[in-house]
């Protein structure tokens, strides 16, 4: 039995179905991320777990207990909001103590637990401050402490980092993850930032238009996307148009240059035109290795990003981006220079369904 189970969850608002056929099982202590574009139903699903919305169909179980129709204040769930949602009239310590007071703990126990939590979030001196006297990052840490103080069964975070600036976002990301690991708390984290999802999660649920597109570990979702949406939403992707020459052996042509595609979603029909995906990091310039696919093109653009140099190579109708590491001994080619790019058949993925 899994710790948190969502079974056949559906949510309908009037004529709109915003979440559909959502199934997910989460292990105790697992960190699962909902990833998807704006409006795909991440928040709605999270709010159903929290009890702020009741599913139109389906069941939610926590630790074997059906909580589908329980009120939010009966679920023992910790929630962290994008907008921090600290109580402005209370000090940091009183904010953290709020849930403990509701639970009717003794003032001694509360004082001790608040102290512990402030230590955990590394703000031990801030108990007497008011929320408006804290930075955004500090406020969000207090919100985290407040949610965790009651030892919730599940921790839910709805884009907790998106209101913060880039530096804080990175450090808080690591802080949340290590805290989650050390407490072993089952966590659902909502984000539309794929880098956040890839770097933090045990598993990612990729969502699109109210449906689950794929559930898997970051490595799996990134390298073996099961749908075209996942392939294009997670990571940067080159999408090319290829014509199938021989479906059985995976031979296709891209702008009349023949290559072999090692992976495909669905069967290939000879002569059909399909979308083909290729990650920038799988492409090597000028056949540096023994990669089996090679194509001729012209450098169209070079952007120097520091450790990485990103180049755009045009064939005829199609163009791809590729990444090389910066090498002080070998300056990148000029614009307009003819080059050869190479990649392995396994890195070339023929996408399912319609062409673009």
């Amino acid at each position: 039995m899994k710790f948190l189970e969502l079974e056949g969850i559906q949510k309908v608002y009037g004529p709109n179905t915003v979440v559909q056929d959502f199934n997910l099982s989460v292990d105790k202590g697992e960190f699962v991320t909902f990833l998807g574009p704006s409006g795909c139903g991440k928040t709605t699903t999270l709010r159903m777990i929290a009890g702020f919305e009741i599913p139109s169909a389906g069941a939610i179980r926590i630790n074997g207990k059906d909580v589908t129709n329980l009120k939010p204040n009966q679920r023992q769930i910790g929630m962290v909001f994008q907008a921090y949602a600290l109580f402005p009239n209370m000090t940091v310590a009183d904010n953290v103590a709020f849930g403990l007071k509701v639970a009717g703990q003794s003032s001694e126990a509360i004082r001790k637990r608040v102290g512990e939590m402030l230590d955990v979030i590394k703000l031990p001196q801030f108990g007497d401050r008011y929320p408006y006297q804290l930075s955004g990052g500090q406020q969000q840490r207090v919100a985290l402490a407040r949610a965790l103080a009651i030892k919730p069964q599940v921790l839910l975070l709805d884009e907790p980092l998106s209101a913060l600036d880039a530096k804080i976002r990175l450090s808080l990301r690591e802080e949340i993850r290590s805290l989650q690991r050390s407490l072993g708390i089952t966590t659902i984290f909502v984000t539309h930032d794929q880098e956040e999802a890839l770097s933090m999660s045990d598993r990612i649920v990729v969502m699109n238009e109210g449906r689950v597109e794929q559930i898997g570990a970051p490595f799996e979702v990134y390298n073996f996307p099961r749908t075209r949406f996942v392939a294009s939403f997670v990571g940067t992707l080159n999408i090319l148009r290829g014509k199938v020459v021989d479906g059985a052996s995976g031979r296709i042509t891209i702008d009349d240059q023949q290559v072999i595609a090692g992976r495909s979603m669905g069967n290939l029909q000879n002569g059909e035109v399909r979308s083909v995906a290729l990650r920038p990091e799988s492409v090597t310039l000028n056949g540096a290795g023994e990669k089996r696919n090679a194509m001729q093109g012209i450098i169209e653009e070079v952007s120097f990003l520091g450790a990485v140099v990103r180049m755009r190579v045009r064939f005829r109708d199609n163009a791809i981006s590729l990444d090389t590491f910066n090498n002080p001994g070998a300056p990148p080619p000029e614009r307009g220079a003819p080059v050869t790019v190479s990649f392995q058949p396994e890195d070339l993925l023929v996408l399912e369904g319609e062409t673009h």
């Binding site: 009120k71 929630m79 949602a85 109580f87 919100a143 009651i150």
Partner: protein, 262 residues
């Protein structure tokens, strides 16, 4: 350039004169009780009058009761409208504005008809019942101000998110209202309270027609029978009202500027 500045100033000066001259005249008159010299004799007499004290105390108590009842009525209502019934907001706003449109005399005649001694709820047949009716009437009269103040206060905080945060921490409605919502609209409730006080303290129609010993009817009685004391009373009432306004400003500023850093 110059004429464009003269115009507004002229308007301001005229407006100020319109308000200030009668006030000064009243004040000046109230000082002239003793022949040939300025004195606070009229004020002394007024303040020493047991009637004054009794009626002022009565009105103050009714005002406080109206404030408490009004706050308990308005805050949860405005909160619920903001949280769950957004679509009803125009309707609720309209209802809260009605007391500005319906004259107090209409309201009080309605009350007397509805709650007379032969009705199902004969509030007017006892003094205590009539006091309740009076309080409720004042809550109604103050409703437009109280509602507006509280609604503005609620808009300044994210009601929904705070509610959900409290709920996820296990809180029920009572705790959410009294520990989270009320404290965060404290300033708004207070400014609504001062306005209520200012309205109630000098109110005549309701108190007179319900025959309660309030400050308003006392003012009227004095005005009809004395020369200097009414002026003194008018100045006192005016001062009380202005003190209320001043307190609104003070409390409002205090809440924003407070920096409790140690």
């Amino acid at each position: 350039m110059k004429s464009s500045k003269v115009g507004p100033w002229l308007a301001i000066i005229l407006g100020a004169l319109y308000f200030i001259v009668p006030l000064i005249a009243t004040f000046e008159f109230s000082l002239r009780m003793k022949r040939g010299q300025y004195s606070f004799e009229a004020y002394r007499i007024v303040l020493a009058d047991p009637q004054f004290r009794a009626t002022f105390l009565f009105s103050t108590i009714v005002a406080l009761a109206a404030i408490v009842v009004g706050a308990l009525l308005v805050v949860p209502t405005a909160y619920w409208v903001q949280l769950r019934l957004r679509r009803l907001r125009p309707l609720i706003e309209f209802i809260t504005l009605l007391p500005l449109v319906i004259p107090a005399i209409v309201i009080v005649f309605g009350y007397i008809r509805m709650y007379n001694s032969s009705s199902i709820l004969p509030l007017t047949s006892t003094a205590a019942g009539t006091n309740v009716l009076l309080t409720i009437g004042y809550v109604t009269l103050a409703l437009p101000y109280m509602y507006r103040a509280v609604d503005t206060g609620l808009r300044a905080i994210d009601v929904r998110v705070l509610t959900e945060a409290a709920q996820s921490l296990g809180a029920g409605w009572g705790r959410i209202l009294f520990r989270v919502i009320f404290p965060n609209v404290r300033v708004a409730v207070l400014s609504g309270a001062f306005l209520t006080f200012a309205i109630v303290i000098g109110e005549f129609t309701l108190a007179s027609l319900l025959n309660r010993p309030a400050f308003g009817p006392y003012l009227q009685l004095m005005g009809a029978n004395r020369a200097y004391e009414p002026s003194a009373l008018a100045i006192i009432a005016f001062a009380v009202t202005w003190a209320c306004m001043g307190l609104i400003q003070l409390v409002g500023r205090g809440a924003r500027g407070a920096t409790p850093v140690r």
